[in-house]
Symmetry: C2
């Protein structure tokens, strides 16, 4: 857990520092995340708290969501590191305070702005579930305690930093789930993301959710995520034909010899392919602009030749051109990486391509050529991945299966097209040690009061059974001891559980002025591993796409009673006429 991150923006730390808020935690990845990145009403409230002499009252807020996204029954928690980086560097500049002053009423007193200038988050405490954990509705992902005016200012940035991060991590995890472990998943979404750091955030969190690599160089540099990419249609159509290739020589992989005219070598291979009777009718004249582009790309990256084959026509041009170049490379000891399909019927085209590759392997005696990589990347999403895999299993990879090894996924993944927002909220649950509740005609919007702890209870088979919230001072559930778990709002839903293992969900990530140990922020790779292993631990029926079983979220009997006592206490009584 204490491995130090190696990428840019490390959190410096040592034992001594981890006992108190260290000054050296880097700021948020996006420098635009400042204390001003909040709603105006946080400042009007802060002023009203201050004016009422109430600003330093100790408040406890819970950050949680009410419903799992994408019609599923789980969510992955992400964004915590950015929240801690934010709080660790929370300080208003004079210029920001001047702007707040301008934005509030001219009647606001000067003392308030002096107060704002002095605040930081040294007396705020943050408890949170570990980033990359599987989480469920209503259970606090974070509990933030501190002076009410300060914590209020954190609401908007915290919810912003958690909402999209958790949503897109969950989306990535769902894509991984349907694709299966054996496929390579590439995030290609930068161009379609909701703004620049929509793209950067997507790359980070899709990696956490189980993707293998990204196309986004900025994210690669910031977070140490593996990068992948080859060329586009524009590269292909930028060439007119092989005549324009001037430097034609290519040294063999082992350096032992030089092919002086690689262009001719490719053309010879293409002629051989054309003469194969087994390929008769598959293709005739291939596109010469495409052939030139492939040759040029191979001359630049002979070790790493991967070609986009659908600029003109996949089977009549792209695949034969690719194979010609790959064969010529093979003669020089290089192994071509593969092709990318970006349009058409991916299942059909990948199967046809595989057959073509297998034919080449057989006819030219090139070992493993039949296994050359096939990447697909046209407007894919969770549903199309699922459909592709189902096709494959039904007809046993005969004609309508698919032969795709790697998927490049963009738009649907990074914009969370199927559900573009997660509804995290930040609710006051206690102030001055007084539990508080927010009512609503919609029961799902009633908040669960009190400073709470949450526990995950595991059953005999090792699966998590349910999560339970308890008041801060209640004794925690014990292994082997029967405990009554109640639905927080539905009287009749309750169950006794005898946990085989009890895991406390929240840890202290920002101890404020207490002498609690500050939990280290694990590096991205470790969050990714946590996410993958947590998802694997879940009982399969919670994870399936169709009608998944809801995971149970409960409260202790004592907390249940208290919620309903407070509810009655706060709800106004009507007077029927």
């Amino acid at each position: 857990m204490e491995v130090k991150p190696k990428v840019n923006g490390d959190l410096k730390d040592d034992d001594k520092q981890s006992r108190r808020p260290p000054a050296a935690i880097a700021g948020p990845t996006n420098p635009m995340v400042t204390p001003l990145l909040t709603d105006l009403y946080q400042f009007t409230m802060a002023y009203a708290y201050w004016k009422a002499g109430k600003h330093n009252e100790r408040a406890v807020f819970d950050l949680y969501f009410r419903r799992n996204p994408f019609g599923g029954e789980y969510t992955v928690f992400a964004g915590l590191e950015e929240c801690i980086r934010f709080i660790a560097n929370f300080k208003f500049s004079k210029e920001e305070i001047a702007f707040v002053r301008e934005s509030l009423s001219p009647t606001c007193e000067d003392g308030f702005f002096d107060y704002l200038e002095g605040i930081d988050c040294s007396d705020v405490e943050v408890y949170a579930i570990t980033e990359g954990s599987v989480v469920f509705p209503k259970i606090p992902l974070m509990r933030v305690e501190g002076p009410v005016a300060v914590v209020q200012l954190l609401e908007t940035p915290y919810v912003n930093l958690i909402n999209y991060a958790s949503l897109v991590t969950t989306n990535a995890a769902r894509h991984r789930f349907v694709a299966g472990k054996s496929k390579v998943l590439l995030e290609f979404g930068l161009r379609r993301a909701q703004g620049p750091d929509g793209g950067i955030g997507a790359s980070k969190y899709c990696y956490m959710g189980g993707f293998d690599a990204t196309s986004n160089c900025a994210a690669g540099k910031l977070f140490g995520i593996p990068l992948r990419g080859t060329h586009s249609h524009a590269f292909v159509s930028s060439f007119m034909g092989p005549d324009e290739i001037i430097e034609k020589s290519l040294r063999s992989q082992d350096g032992s010899r030089v092919c002086q005219d690689f262009v001719s070598a490719v053309q010879t291979c293409l002629s051989k392919l054309k003469r194969l009777s087994i390929l008769k009718g598959v293709f005739a004249e291939t596109n010469q602009s495409e052939l030139a582009a492939f040759i040029s790309y191979a001359l630049a990256f002979p070790d790493n030749f991967l070609a986009l084959v659908d600029t003109y026509d996949v089977m009549r041009s792209g695949i034969p051109n690719f194979c010609a170049v790959a064969l010529a490379l093979n003669d020089l000891g290089y192994k071509a990486r593969g092709i990318r399909l970006d349009s058409g019927d991916l299942a059909y085209l990948s199967c046809e391509t595989r057959k073509f590759f297998q034919t080449v392997e057989k006819e030219f005696g090139v070992p493993d050529f039949g296994k050359t990589g096939i990447t697909a990347s046209n407007d894919l999403n969770e549903e199309t991945l699922d459909a592709l895999n189902k096709q494959a299993s039904i007809i046993k990879k005969k004609i309508f299966g698919h032969e795709v090894d790697a998927f490049g996924i963009g738009t649907n993944l990074v914009t969370c097209y199927a559900q573009a927002a997660l509804g995290c909220v930040f609710k006051l649950v206690e102030i001055n040690n007084q539990p508080r509740i927010k009512l609503s005609e919609d029961v799902s919007k009633v908040s669960i009061p009190c400073k709470k702890r949450s526990f995950r209870l595991y059953g005999k088979e090792g699966y998590p059974l349910l999560d339970i919230m308890a008041g801060e001072n209640e004794p925690p559930p014990k292994v082997g001891e029967r405990i009554l778990c109640r639905h927080p709002f539905n009287e009749s839903k309750r169950a006794y559980v005898v946990p085989q293992r009890v895991e406390e969900l929240m840890k202290c990530y920002w101890p404020g002025n207490t002498d609690k140990k500050r939990e280290e922020l694990p590096p991205l790779k470790q969050n990714r591993e946590r996410c993958i292993s947590q998802l694997e631990q879940m009982r399969p029926d919670h994870m399936r796409r169709l009608n998944p079983t809801p995971y149970k979220v409960s409260v202790t009997a004592k907390l249940y009673d208290f919620i309903h006592f407070l509810w009655l206490n706060e709800a106004p009584v009507g007077e029927l006429q």
Copy 2:
């Protein structure tokens, strides 16, 4: 057009500078927008171009989209200023180049990295439609010309910067369209946006699309957008009751007198309300925590009292508490601003609230109290706004109409929940003066080749009739002269048009090394005005929500013929067996 922006990040300029790329254009709003914010394949292609000696070949790329979003027939173009800021400051740092080197193959030659270090965008030209314009599929929003390797590197950031900006501006414009001009529209989306600058971008572009204000302070500061906000449920529930209010005095609006116990004044007003026979049965005991919160907020902002009334119960508690405070304020010469509803049946509650306000006006003789503002803000979107307005018009505001004056819209607006991505692409249309085409089995994905100009032709009634693309060297359409306008891909769709006005769509926003005049980047407010007036100019049937008429997009007869000549030329010929 030449008004200088007054907000942060101005573009400095004078006559002399506008003839050549000025060095003083500020960088992108988000400092994370660097030349590294691009896909890896842009670098692999740049290397392959360089290796082939082709990197300086002059290329022309078009940026366009293929389908209007949200089931509509129009889009608003936005994001141009950020693109120009990016290009004006495009330069790799040594650190970035070192990272690119690491990310490419170790066999890549050093010369390439020297080349990268030297490049900027001084020989790139950018032509674009004015930001805030109404635009349509297939018509280039931007045309970028320059050395192929450099322009290739711009693809990803350009598409990223335009896609979300145009999408969310269009979404805002659609919300404004259904809400009507008379309503106040507030953007409240920061907390649900896709990351921090998803929120900042949303605030900027929703304002451009016709919103009146935002809650996002960072955006307010960056772009000079009006800010709005009051308080949340947490503020309400943070109070226990009026007893905790210590400083109770309030000076009258004109400064002439001081009410020593404003709390008692409010309580007196509440008792009077309770005694009104006309309100009998509406409410009994109101929530005291809420009452205390309202009083405190009024003491902090007596000039600007706006209360969130649904923490416990709107009609039984929130509205009577609000009216009591508002009446006490009124006695001191202050006028309460209004209330905000954040749950429940907004149409019903707003009507009940209006009736309550009108009763107070009548019974207490407070002029205009009946018109006190009502803001609504619960999960609103284009559809709910439309439904609310339709209800209102059908039953003539009797019982089931609505009385909302202002809408606060968040999630659905900023995440573009109804369609989370726009599909802008960036396609090579010419290289070395040779027109290029990208084919596809899906006709809508075939690119329109050639360096082109685009024109909007207006009819007799002043409405735009259609847009037409022509080859760069064709004579432009002339007023009063008949011109044949052809669908680019559908032979049978064509029409003669005699334009009453011809508007060239693209202007030069970045002249590169040419001596063309560089078009000024207008400030945000001016883009907003352009957007609003352009939308008003459109023929109403293109704008309606249900079955809008598609706006026609066409090519000249000459361009049509050339597209199809090139298509046949590039498509591989099959050989049927």
